[in-house]
């Protein structure tokens, strides 16, 4: 079954959303960052496209720990309440750690935005379908977890509008249906260097 066929089966708000491209949306997202916002890139293609969209000192690129982009972002948001923090996560990664949505809602950090790239497949492992391809609606799950400001992006302009709103105060979750194109480029793979650069970018001296 193709990705498009999977998408056609989707329930909830997802079925009306346009299928977009992750790299294109990542560029539109980073173009809105004007205040040294922190961005946590989840493992895999979310990360690769963040890297390729232009390396910022406030970007953290996860090399492992699948599913922990949102918890890491929540930790940064708690430590630095004056800075907005964005987590970029894939559908497979989020499905691995759904409980973190409830934790985010419970803490309700106003400076946190979650962006979910949903292509309905475990793309990097060979395109096996995720549960969101046929059954699970990640926005409905986020709302059910208590993140009231959760929405599907209808198209690119809607994504930009939702993200601009999210930067004004969250917590928010924006889900975007994306195609199955692979990430553009790959990150460096030196975890200590990535961590040290990120901390410098956040103004933390070690």
């Amino acid at each position: 079954m193709t990705t498009l066929q999977h998408n056609a089966q989707r329930a909830g708000g997802a079925h009306n959303a346009k299928v977009m491209n992750r790299f294109e949306l990542t560029k539109r997202l980073t173009a809105q960052l004007k205040h040294e916002e922190a961005v946590i890139g989840g493992i895999g293609n979310a990360n690769f496209d963040l890297w390729s969209s232009g390396q910022r000192p406030q970007n953290f690129y996860m090399l492992g720990s699948m599913g922990l982009a949102i918890p890491i972002a929540l930790g940064v948001a708690i430590a630095q309440p004056q800075r907005h923090v964005v987590a970029l996560e894939g559908d497979g990664s989020l499905l691995m750690q759904l409980g973190c949505l409830a934790t985010v809602a419970m803490r309700a950090p106003t400076n946190l935005t979650i962006v979910v790239w949903d292509n309905g497949i475990y793309q990097i492992t060979g395109g096996q379908p995720t549960a969101s391809a046929s059954a699970a609606d990640l926005v409905a799950i986020a709302r059910g977890a208590g993140i009231a400001k959760s929405a599907w992006a209808a198209d690119e302009e809607d994504f930009e509008r939702l993200f601009a709103q999210a930067l004004k105060g969250g917590p928010s979750l924006i889900a975007a249906r994306i195609d199955d194109k692979p990430g553009v480029g790959t990150t460096d793979r030196d975890p200590v260097q990535i961590r040290a650069r990120f901390m410098q970018g956040l103004g933390i001296k070690r």
């Binding site: 492992g64 918890p71 890491i72 708690i78 430590a79 409980g99 934790t103 961590r195 990120f198 901390m199």
Partner: protein, 178 residues
């Protein structure tokens, strides 16, 4: 705490005071019966930001992010919960050199009634050893403050995680309900 106060204080009060003295403000936990008095004391002290995560590896992710943002953090879990964190330790905390402070309530030994706890207890130290994560099993009340205080300072100075396994000899552990 003065030496006399430390001698007289319960174990959980020593942990709370030592975290505070070392500016560890964030404590994220997955609950445990043995740690209940510590968790209550942390919630009652405005110095701490403390809350439950849904899963132990999530708690590790949160304190890792907080550390990178300039805030020191600790995680609390029971022994069975340790079994959920090796991936986060191996692929985030250890390779990124993040001084996560991990407190494990030791279950599965000295009178355990739950087989699941016992099996994790057997694997916990070998896992920490093979990951190169320093760990201390605290059995004695008079050594608790020294071990925790010195180890937090070492973790921060050397940018390395550390695990404190609090033995039933220290905490009393959890026994069959009678």
């Amino acid at each position: 705490m003065t030496e006399t106060q430390t001698r007289q204080a319960p174990w959980h009060e020593i942990v709370r005071a030592t975290l505070k003295a070392n500016d560890v403000k964030l404590v994220v936990y997955v609950p445990d019966r043995v740690f209940t008095p510590l968790i209550k004391a942390l919630h009652a002290d405005d110095f701490f930001t403390t809350f439950a995560a849904t899963r132990e590896e999530e708690a590790l992710g949160i304190v890792s992010g907080a550390w990178m943002g300039g805030l020191r953090g600790a995680v609390l879990m029971q022994t069975s919960g340790f079994a959920t964190i090796p991936n986060a330790l191996a692929s985030l905390v250890a390779p990124s050199q993040i001084p996560a402070l991990i407190f494990v309530s030791e279950r599965g030994t000295l009178g355990e009634f739950n087989l699941g706890q016992a099996m994790v207890c057997k694997t916990m130290r070998p896992v920490l050893d093979s990951l190169g994560v320093e760990h201390h099993t605290v059995t004695r009340h008079d050594e608790l403050a020294f071990i925790v205080d010195r180890s937090i300072k070492q973790a921060v100075a050397t940018q390395a995680p550390v695990a404190f396994i609090l033995s039933p000899l220290l905490t009393g552990g959890k026994v069959f309900a009678s």
